[in-house]
Subunit: 290 residues, 2 copies
């Protein structure tokens, strides 16, 4: 039995993580899987400017799975619940062909921020630098011995993949600063900024030169022969927030990297070579690397 | 954004259904799968004496799955939502090795009924006859041509497997009648009555001779060479409610089939041959037939 807070709105979100697609034993530990399943959902609550309150977990488990593995998954779930002040209030466990974790999280908010409120002239602001999760994943997947060196030098890269953090406090701060629309960057800034523009019926320009790179992303891109902006914009699960902020609003800790415009037919990334349509750059759940 | 009702408690439940384990294309249609995923959760809300309000659906989908199949699953979800007055307020879709549906349902209640309140002397009452779902499934799986005849003669058997009904109104009525503990019979009466007794720290006697059989269950058992009580008590997803009711309470439509006792070491089924321990009779999610 849950006690909703009087005068608050209830918000709910659900997200499912599947072994082999969202996580693998080769790259992270069972505790990390449980942690990430919780955080992926809390990040959605953060984007609604909600305080995280409760969650439930429906697990499917292939036969055979050692009980110790499940205990470790639950330990990671518990760590994340304690870290972010949310109570696990229900669950289900079922047999299935792969380990999957479907989490539903409930939060409360006084001032919900939708995806659909961005106005022409609003700034596109992100709550932190980008690319760490994609760079971390790529380095962990790489067979290159130099990758291990980079992972040691920039511990935030593997941590961004294994132990992401939800931007709960920043979600509340952005709402108080007047954010008109908000989303969490779980599928890459290109796709998520596009989602904001589409929901709001406005245009968007993402300015490549202004996109903040997380520490180590440039070095990882150089080692892997990839474009650092592709890591920062095209993919990954950085779980920072992307918000539309009125020009006049003043909030420390956010980084401007674009602007919303009046023309909904112009939704582009502004590169040195000129504008590139954002459609087609988004992370596709059905073409995700293992 | 959801608007909780002032003065009500919020309750939440989650349940995941997996293709090949909880449903198969050989025995039911995609619309049925969506329907059942909703009902399995609404039945849990019914057991808490809650009114169903909102639900979210996290789907995992194997490649390739025709879009038309997914549309039919969603159509079944929509049918059940409309039938039982609940709003689908969120979702997630992800690739995965099998089609699975993780539903989380939210309800509201003024007077929640726990599993843990049964007292010695309370009656064990069920909200309807048992065995239809297990008999329907067994007949659908049977290669026997006579099975098709029985399914035609007793349409409630296949319907119980494919289109179960949540006992939402009966949950509220049982709560008003003073139910001290309640559960939905999703894993078989043996297991679910045992859950009530365990949670309440009391004993339980399930009286075989009083267990109400659904129409056609006796006929199905005869055809299949099975014990009708095994179909009614041991397995199946009848989604009726089992409740502990004080002796004096008066409620039409419920059927007494046992009683709660003081000695927690006695949790038995009372058969013609004598008492049989209930432990071991419960439906096991990890040994479920395909």
């Amino acid at each position: 039995m849950l006690e909703p807070t009087a005068g608050h709105r209830l918000v709910v979100t659900t997200d499912v993580l599947v072994e082999g697609l969202d996580f693998t034993a080769a790259l992270s530990e069972p505790e990390d899987w449980g942690w990430k399943a919780v955080v992926a959902n809390l990040s959605d609550l953060a984007a609604m400017a909600a305080e995280a309150r409760w969650l439930v977990l429906a697990l499917t488990v292939p036969d055979p799975t050692p009980v110790a593995t499940l205990e470790r998954v639950y330990a990671g779930v518990g760590e994340a619940c304690r870290a972010f002040g949310v109570a696990l209030v229900g669950g289900d466990i079922s047999a299935g062909p792969a380990l999957s974790m479907a989490v539903t999280a409930l939060g409360e908010t006084e001032r919900p921020v939708p995806r659909s409120g961005a106005r022409p002239g609003d700034r596109l602001a992100v709550s932190g630098p980008l690319g760490a999760a994609a760079a971390g994943l790529a380095l962990l997947q790489s067979g290159d011995p130099a990758a291990a060196g980079l992972l040691g030098r920039f511990p935030g890269l593997a941590a961004a993949h294994r132990r992401p953090q939800p931007a709960l406090a920043m979600g509340l701060a952005l709402a108080r600063a007047g954010a008109t629309a908000m989303i969490d960057v779980s599928d890459g800034l290109a796709g998520d900024a596009l989602h904001l523009a589409e929901a709001s019926g406005v245009g968007i320009e993402v300015h490549d030169a202004a996109v903040p790179l997380a520490p180590g992303v440039a070095e990882a891109a150089a080692l892997l022969g990839r474009d650092p902006l592709e890591l920062a914009i095209g993919g990954g699960e950085d779980f920072v927030l992307a918000a539309a902020l009125p020009r006049a609003s003043d909030l420390g800790g956010v980084l401007d990297c674009g602007r919303f415009t009046a023309d909904p037919s112009t939704r582009v990334r502004v590169t040195r070579g000129g504008p590139v349509p954002l459609a087609g750059l988004a992370w596709d759940h059905f073409r995700r690397p293992g």
